[in-house]
Symmetry: C2
Subunit: 217 residues, 2 copies
Amino acid sequence: MMKDARKIKDLLYEQVARIGKVFSSPKRLELIELLCQGEKTVETLAREASISMKLASAHLRELRGAHLVETERRGKNIHYRLAGKAVADLWVHIHSLAEDRLIELQMALQKIAAQPDDLVPNDRETLMKMARRGEVVVLDVRPTEEYLATHLPFARSIPIDELRLRLAELPKDRPIVAYCRGPYCLMAIDAAELLRKEGFKSAHLRDGVAEWGVADI
Amino acid sequence: MMKDARKIKDLLYEQVARIGKVFSSPKRLELIELLCQGEKTVETLAREASISMKLASAHLRELRGAHLVETERRGKNIHYRLAGKAVADLWVHIHSLAEDRLIELQMALQKIAAQPDDLVPNDRETLMKMARRGEVVVLDVRPTEEYLATHLPFARSIPIDELRLRLAELPKDRPIVAYCRGPYCLMAIDAAELLRKEGFKSAHLRDGVAEWGVADI
DNA sequence: TAATCAATCCAGCAATTATTAGATTATTTA
DNA sequence: TAAATAATCTAATAATTGCTGGATTGATTA
């Protein structure tokens, strides 16, 4: 008979809680979402998450302690990347459950993207079929490096900063579907709005590469 | 253009972190695993998790605050249950990732179930096929109420406390595959050990109903 | 109605965590 | 070799969390 079951169990749950702890801080979640877009330096992560490099470094230390990220030094910089696709998948699961369960979150998300787009089909398969045929343009408005790391099938890249200058590259007769880092990133919403103002048919996708499951980490 | 993006983002990640926080405490994780087995009273949860009712109540309060559990008063008792299958699924994802990433956890798990059983096929489909044909007996050794709430297909119920007295109900010619609450529960291991000592062919399953995805919440 | 039982609420202490500032390490450039 | 850059480490403080004991609520039983 297994003796001292209590001690063993305490140890096991404590280990799992190490992973849970990582996902209990808003800033760490934001860093994870950024890392879902591809590997990044501490500097970039800090800038994108609007925190100091010191604080970013401290949070990344936690991520590393739980073996959820890996690091590699290249020149002056240390590059961080997720330790595997399973980490991105867990992030997607957690924020999906949060969206399921927390009314406050649902309302906040509705506020930032009030109108549901009927310009574009809701299911992924149909959208991809249309993209394959060129019936819609799928537009990745994240920074170029993120596009290069991974992107949705058939997607074109125009970072949101360059969008206003590169409007000529886009067609006016077909819908343009912008996407960015995911539901908590506002770039795609801004891009679609800009495009509509400029006379394009445009909508945005809620999901990013992590939600689509295409992040090849 | 979306103004004050930072404030909006902070709010969104903070909401998701509310869910993450729930999974950051070992005792809360244990309570969630118990609730994956079916609804339970605070008293039962406290006893099974080896904590005081006050502490259990406090942890359950956190779970309720994050809308991950629901409660119902029936007579003197308040019954807690998971707010949906998605909660059980997230628990499975988190502990799976922990087992993937944390060597300490892998080692601790290996220690409690050293020998891999070759008595029983590793893949679920084959096992279920054999169970359907009666080539193995799938034995649920959890308390009866948990069996009644959900159980694996074709499973029989003999709670571990009653096992020694009810050995006559089991066949000696076919393998008996015991399972319990999951990888952090030791009942199935103990049961298989007891059965082997008594001359049965026996093995244990690592996974419980949550891991099999059959928890119908 | 009083007594009992299950569970929660509240207050307080100890332990942990988030954040910031200052000093330190490793690498590259001048 | 010195200066500059990217990142970490250490120490300190404020805020949060985990847990315990005492009082309280709500329902049942005597």
